[in-house]
Amino acid sequence: MSERTGLPPLDPADVPSESRRNILRMMGALGLGSVVAPGVLAGLDASTHAARAAVQPGAPVEPLQFWIPNWPDMIEIARQLGESWKKLGISVQVKQGTLDTWTAEIIGQHQMPHLAAMSWGGAPDRIDPDYFLTEFYNSSRLAKGGMNYGDYDDTKFDAIDNKQREEMDDKKRQQLVFEAQAMAAAANPSLVLFSRNYIQAYNNKRFDGIVPVTGSGIAMPYIPWTYYKMTAKTSRKLVKTTSIYDIHTLNPFATPEVYNSSLLRWIYPTFVIRNEQWDLTPWAAESFKVIDPTTVDVVIRDGMKFHDGKPVTVEDAKFTFDFIDKWKFPSFARVTGTVGSTEILPPRTLRFHLKQPNAPFLANVLGFTFIAPKHIWENVASASNLKTPADYPNDDAVGSGPFKLGEWKRGEYLFLKTNAEWWMAPKIDGVYWLVVPNLENQMGMMERGDADLLGWYIDRKQGDMLAKSPDLTVVSTPSHGLHEIRMHMTMAPLDDPNLRLALQQATDRQMLLDLVFGGAGVVAYNSPIMPINKFWSNPNIPNPAFSIDAARKTLEKAGYGWNANGDLLHPKG
């Protein structure tokens, strides 16, 4: 994803806020009490604008407004930071909301107050450093809908970031990635806190051969080596895994959402996959080779069959990319952005001609796209009168992967059956993904033996509780996801780099990790690439050590003062 280089600032679609005003006009016309609503909205707008008011020298620093999703860990982090920063004379006002509202306002509208906290999951796409570096810090993501809502804007950073994306040699790329991280770290755009471990459990009396994978735990569908390798210890070879989500579609072209698309990749295998050590290994491909910076050859594995018995050929592979290019599916934007054309080199090689060199191509395109059966998809749109094949229900989901579609009972479970024809066929008979929205119920089902794997993640205390049961083994796996607090670099007083540095120094990361997650995690460097991602993480930019004194000294040197109450005051001159 995000292979574009030097994009011009995108034209924001300002529909929602304008539409809000239009609705109010309409409601007024209908005589439905339009007095209250505009007042409320005006009030909300005003509070954001007030924060942008001019800074008065010598005046007390305004309270920092902090937008967090209403999760227990975030609430506690915000509370603790409020207390730490009070010692600097800074006060914090916390606004809580649901995840969808946070996303809509912060990412969708860039209605960013001073601070916004989020935890980012360890999805497989994010192992490649391009994801976090570009999404968080590249200026092409400054537009609404992009994730650079802190307004970090540095053309020098953009230059290095765009260069790393095109460097196909890993060693050279590593240097560029290190440089980009160091450059961003110097500006302190974000308080990167830590990564939390994924704590999960499995039933050791029933199953063996569980494989923990960094960022995926033992049971999540993202890099599912457990499911490909586990063996049954009893006569029941069907696995029951709990999850808080259900998928929403069986159409692999329709969904951009990571959970859904990961599960569908069990049916529609990707060309390459990351193994347990995160190395890219051939999966539906037999081998792959970078010929030159814009040419990649992929040899399709011999002997594969689709779940309806027809053979998988290189023609199907080429068809898939032509199909994506023809319909321009939004969830495959990363493909249409990088792949110029494909060419068949008989007998089984597909040659990719990239639009420009693209380092994440191998992991995030070859590790994301699959081989779709041409005989099924080529007529889907015309046959069913659909505007786009992405609207096709695909209830029979014919792929070629290690699992076939068994049954999907919406809201209840998804059953995936083993495909014995796959070259590395799983040793179990199938997996039931049970939809259990309540995490405590998931734990109860594990204890009772109603489920074999806990497919979400629990915290340290819950893990200790499950560990008491002799049938259960609790596994804690590190992750490359992160908890971070973005700072609004163009909003006073956070536009002062000294204040941002002081906040960094006044943040006790180890304490927060211990308090909120029982220490099950890894404290971060001053970079969104987590230490666990050893090859790409720059170890030379640790976060400043926690010290209120050092923070106060930083502020003093920058001209800040304190009044009799201990409130922080803006510099005078």
Binding site: T101, G108, S331
Partner: protein
Amino acid sequence: MELWRYIGNRLLQTVVTLLAVVTLMWGMFRLIPGDPTTIFLGSGELPPDALAALRHSWGLDAPLYQQYLDYLRNLLTGNLGVSFYYRRPVLDVLLPMLWNTILLMGVAMVLATVIGVVVGAYLGWKRGQRIETIGSLLVLIPRSLPIFWIGIMLLMIFAYGLAWFPIGGLRTPAFIPETPLQQLPGYDLAQHMFLPVLTSVIYFLSDPLMIMRTSMLEVIEEDFIMFARARGLHERTVRKMARRNAIGPVLTYLAIMVSFAFGGQVLVEVLFSWPGMGSLMVNSVAQRDYPVAQAAFFLMAVITILLNLLIDVLYVFIDPRVHYG
């Protein structure tokens, strides 16, 4: 004749009410920050221009009045639209959830009403005696408890503790019946339904019960009861007469109770992993899946309004003193 005119008038009012409800609801959803592409934000899978393309393909960048008129036009032709989240017709998404809710809540409401009416009539009849005072107090206890607490307690005792019932879900995946009891058809479903139904019955019992009791208290003061006793009718007959006269308000309340049962039980559904209308409503709002959310709320409005009308009409047949026109 008069009755038909009454029904006609009411139906006309219904249409106007529904139009107002639909408009208000449509407007409210558009007021919430975000839109159906919001769920794809933050995953970073869609760069901003792909999001714009998606929004365009869903007609979300059309002027608002256009979207509203399109929605109304579709609604009038019975087209509930296509879900943004599931990418299939709204009815495909809605109907299975609706059946799940009807199954669970239907059984629960019938039980709660029947038990409530019988016990409420009994308590009302025994006015002034100790059993009535104690009974009335006891009944208010479950009503004051949060429904999810009742559910959690039942889960704790019967599912976690005694393991008599499963922890949740609609059915056991890959269920293989072992004992003869398990081989009875519907055994698995009944086992899964028991605790959520019990939770709902305990919670919803008190409303019809207290309404029946209050209504009964009024009825037994009436002259015809005294007269019936004076005529020497058996106490049981008198009580039957009283009950039949007292049941009216409970019927009126039924319409409200049904609408609560339909959409308001998301807490029970999440607790028992029961995929029903409540969860659908909450999730579709969180996902900004306008077509599904609007259809679900619209359905709830239609059912409530029509049920009210039906019960008002039924009144004519239950109570001959009632006539319209």
